[in-house]
Symmetry: C2
Subunit: 408 residues, 2 copies
Amino acid sequence: MKNLIVAQSGGPTSAINATLAGVIVEAQKSKEIDKIYGACYGIQGVLEEKFIDLNRKADTQDKIEMLKRTPAAALGSCRFKLEDPEKDDTQFRQIVDIFHKYNIGYFIYIGGNDSMDTVYKLSVYCEKNGIDDIKVIGGPKTIDNDLCGIDHCPGFGSAAKYIATVFAELEQEINVYETKSVIIVEMMGRNAGWLTAAAALAEKKNGKTPYLIYLEERTFSMEKFISDVKEELDAHDTVLVAVSEGVHDEEGRYICDTLPGESDTDVFGHSMLSGTGRVLEEEVKNKIGCKVRSIELNLLQRCASHIMSETDINESFNLGQNAVRIAVSGESGKMSSLKRIPSDKYEVEYCAVDIANVANLEKKVPVSWINETGNGVTEEMIDYLLPLIQGELSCFYDNGVPDYIVLK
Amino acid sequence: MKNLIVAQSGGPTSAINATLAGVIVEAQKSKEIDKIYGACYGIQGVLEEKFIDLNRKADTQDKIEMLKRTPAAALGSCRFKLEDPEKDDTQFRQIVDIFHKYNIGYFIYIGGNDSMDTVYKLSVYCEKNGIDDIKVIGGPKTIDNDLCGIDHCPGFGSAAKYIATVFAELEQEINVYETKSVIIVEMMGRNAGWLTAAAALAEKKNGKTPYLIYLEERTFSMEKFISDVKEELDAHDTVLVAVSEGVHDEEGRYICDTLPGESDTDVFGHSMLSGTGRVLEEEVKNKIGCKVRSIELNLLQRCASHIMSETDINESFNLGQNAVRIAVSGESGKMSSLKRIPSDKYEVEYCAVDIANVANLEKKVPVSWINETGNGVTEEMIDYLLPLIQGELSCFYDNGVPDYIVLK
């Protein structure tokens, strides 16, 4: 019997703890697995041996259920880039030594693109060095929905549901006054517009307000934007605008970079964008002069565990279970994944995909799912998104306030 | 038998439609009332005779329940300032003529401070001119909780619950990384810090992160703020800051006015504030240099009907019923109100208060409910707030998306 270790990485989501819960439940059931360790703060916590005993911390059905409904990342996360093992394999040797020291045979790493890169590098390192007693498996997670090798990403459905809900509410809000009025909402999603597309789910549901939706997969033109808004305002008085933080002009310049202040980058070298909504707000104010307000959903969209997609939480849990099954079956260098089964009814099946087909790749919105004028999405997009937000699940409340499990 | 007319005014809330639902249900029950009109877009809609038949639009228990859970203001709202009748009573004569034309004996106006001013002026005008067949009653509403003559305002409890929920989530979010980190959240509330105080409801519930809470009732010092943040960061690594949009320095200058761009005012001459969080974010970045992010809750905090306080929605409904009862009893120039009954258990009783004691007044947070150092609230504040956020109520969902009633 071997021990299992699980860690979380990358940006928080509402669903990453559901995947952790799935890992714990499946590992508890497995006859191949003895101890279940949680490494705090991702791969960095592995290197620092910051381990907790998850069998003890999540030993009841109630605690598991609470973990499924706790947002962010209960084990903590990191944005830690491992060295390239071709240049310096010190960290990889350290990780393997630590795993051997703790008799760890299974490592499940739950995260997004960058975390899958860690899974890839570590599994390749093990393979190249003949280390076959450590199985390294990725558990997908990202609200951005930009992982390859999977139909859609755990965490995305809940964020999409939150966004659709916010748009439904803002549509009621904007129609309260008899005034020409524009609300611009900026969504996260570094290089993919999936989250922004989710706004479309609320359109025409509770009124006739037009939505203008701009994804970063299409070049953004400020002139076109202003003319779109003018046109809709003429016909409808109110307009809701959904815009990806990463929209850019034809020369690739981010729209938000026209704001004063330096643009930051994270340790992976990705731009940290925000302010696109404010730039558009100023432009509407100056060029149209109507009432306009911009809202940045900011961190709220990725940890809103008070309104989650039940479908997303269940699938996230199942993907955690599936990850353990893959590891125990003896595979390594795989990501736990799901496929949509072609059928009239929405159904998925769980599978394993090669991590090499996931790491460092990004799944963008197909351009054919964006309308011709570049300010909305097609029916294919709605058909893809709608099943992912079905069912409502909330965190638990105690005395009126959210009640979570605290692991670390 | 007379007809009743009801209208909504001021900023949207999650609960104003629950009060409207209460008005409709009570008016339907009353033997004194025949038709139930809704005026679209507040007092402006009255002047323009934009009336709808609410008996027809809300004729089933299901529709009433849906109305209770629809955010914003289903009849529409306005920010329309009536002329001073002492100078020009044209509008008042028009309103009375229209009411007589439609055989309206009861007018319920649901709104905040400015709307209560309309109720006051209209009832005084009627009294002075011997018009005793029109009873004018105010229905309270404001997320700001700044109305006098009532223990707490309908709509506030739901906004407070939303804010406490967001803080609970952000506390999970901020503790995900092992990094010194600050999140600053800016709340609405023009001249009263009630909403900001609600952040305290989540403190110490799911962790040990300190909350620094700055209400506009205390002078804001940037030096003190930076020293507070430094002190907490030294001890705890992470800090959550809750700040009122209207915090100002000792000379009365709004902190947000240090941002470039003109400060706007609405038709009532109130400053439209925002940007305080961004100013504090810049200051933390420059003076401390740690990771910092500011979030403006913006419109999201006043129309989040996907997470409402059940207590708030029930009380809002009851206040609507109570308003009709007051009107039918023959009183005018009153606001439907509630008192907290001193007891171990939270209980309220419904009553009527003179509108003169409400209009144009503001209820601020008692300074004794702010801690000595001015960066938190006392137990009295928690005891006051906690009963108001009890119970969770959500909008209805259809096919994964919020489903509202559309009246106008």
